[in-house]
Symmetry: none
Subunit: 251 residues, 2 copies
């Protein structure tokens, strides 16, 4: 049994049964527990499963994950969201991507702002119910549960019929070389499509995303119009972004 075969089997079992006990599995395969534990550790390192005491669980697109992300740097995200909300002019058509930062944006939209918000995120849509003057256009499609956004051809088709003034994009990595990246291929494609349909693309990035890279590229750095980030970052972190031609906003 090859290591990669074993790892593939582990993931298959997690998908089918929703859990895996290290001891039990090692006996079933006739290898030592250590080997299994090593596999589990490595897969967990790649984010492909959730390591727990005694075994592993699927890297659930589950809510625990999403909620924990919501709390990471929440004050910074709130600041970013607030600043971004002020960039919207009355009457504009704005596309809001999913993600916790954009939820903050939605939450901080001025109450007297009249605008049209297009989104493929049901979380954003629910958030905007409170804003009486904002008209919400929901993009449908297959729900990608990890990010809680609609993806797939249905979404792509709906998006291609819309032209927006601004697009507030979420991303898991913003890097001078690899550009703007995210963790899912299909999500990356959808984000790129939305950007093509929008006059200007604005990326909100907390400090831990600057200089980070994820597997799938959405677009090169040069295609972003504006990058909004927090103040107080070291000059060497920001220099490559400043020199790449985009507008850098620190809040």
């Amino acid at each position: 049994m090859l290591t990669s075969e074993r790892k593939a089997l582990i993931q298959q079992i997690l998908r089918q049964e929703g859990r895996l006990v290290a001891k039990e599995f090692s006996q079933k395969l006739g290898v030592s527990e250590d080997t299994i534990r090593r596999d589990l550790r490595e897969l967990a390192g790649e984010g492909l499963l959730l390591r727990v005491h005694g075994g592993a669980l699927p890297a659930s697109p589950a809510v625990a994950d999403y909620e924990s992300r919501e709390q990471v740097g929440s004050s910074a995200k709130a600041r970013l969201g607030q600043a971004a909300a002020r960039m919207i002019q009355p009457g504009q058509i704005v596309f809001l991507d999913g993600g916790t930062t954009n939820v903050q944006l939605a939450r901080h939209l001025p109450h007297d702002l009249k605008a049209v918000v297009v989104t493929h995120s049901p979380s954003i849509a629910v958030e905007l119910v409170r804003h009486p003057l904002v008209e919400v256009e929901l993009i449908g499609g297959r729900l990608f549960k990890h990010s809680i956004v609609a993806v797939g051809t249905t979404s792509a088709e709906a998006i291609s019929r819309i032209r927006a003034d601004l697009f507030f994009m979420g991303a898991t990595g913003v890097h001078p070389e690899t550009g703007v990246t995210t963790g899912d291929r299909e999500e990356a494609a959808i984000k790129a499509l939305i950007a093509r349909q929008s006059a200007e693309t604005i990326v909100l990035a907390t400090h831990e995303k600057l200089g980070a890279a994820s597997p799938y590229q959405i677009m090169p750095l040069a295609d972003i119009g504006t990058l909004v980030t927090v103040t107080g970052l070291p000059g060497e972190t920001l220099r490559p972004f400043k020199s790449s031609g985009l507008t850098l906003v620190e809040v």
Copy 2:
């Protein structure tokens, strides 16, 4: 049973039933009370639940949940939702309408149920993120904020491309003469369309909706397949429904 599984189960039970008794739960799982208490303490430490003497309560009841708790008959809605959830067979394609009762339905879907859920309600979509085996298809369109559902031609077009086995419909009035009614014209039209695309339409109605009528008719009573309502209603209220040919389920 892994520790983290137990903790996940605790949170699920709190979402579904709104409370958990330590002693009772420990017996159900066959572990000591101490273990459960430890779990509860740790989860409470992370702010994931509210520790109370004898057990635990949900930490931050979700908005829909909170609202339904304040209304009369919240437990009735939960009961209806629970009963409706059991009517779904594995592998079926189910259309879920918006509304608080259907949120309860989504929350009570069996955790091991593999099915496809189609919905034009972003609230339902967000709720279903927790169900790893349920594939969610989101219908897009203009958001009608009062009911938090997507409506309009975009939605209609998307709906017309889908055929579902079951449709769980929400309504504000169910009356022997005026049929099933709701408060918005466009919403009524969308509901009627979904019903046409579905093999069977099931209406969940709490007691205050039976015999009530709203301005816009969705469909006559005869076009409903099943009406699910609570037990203990007077015979004269139910008689006209029983004689109209639909299946009446009391839970």
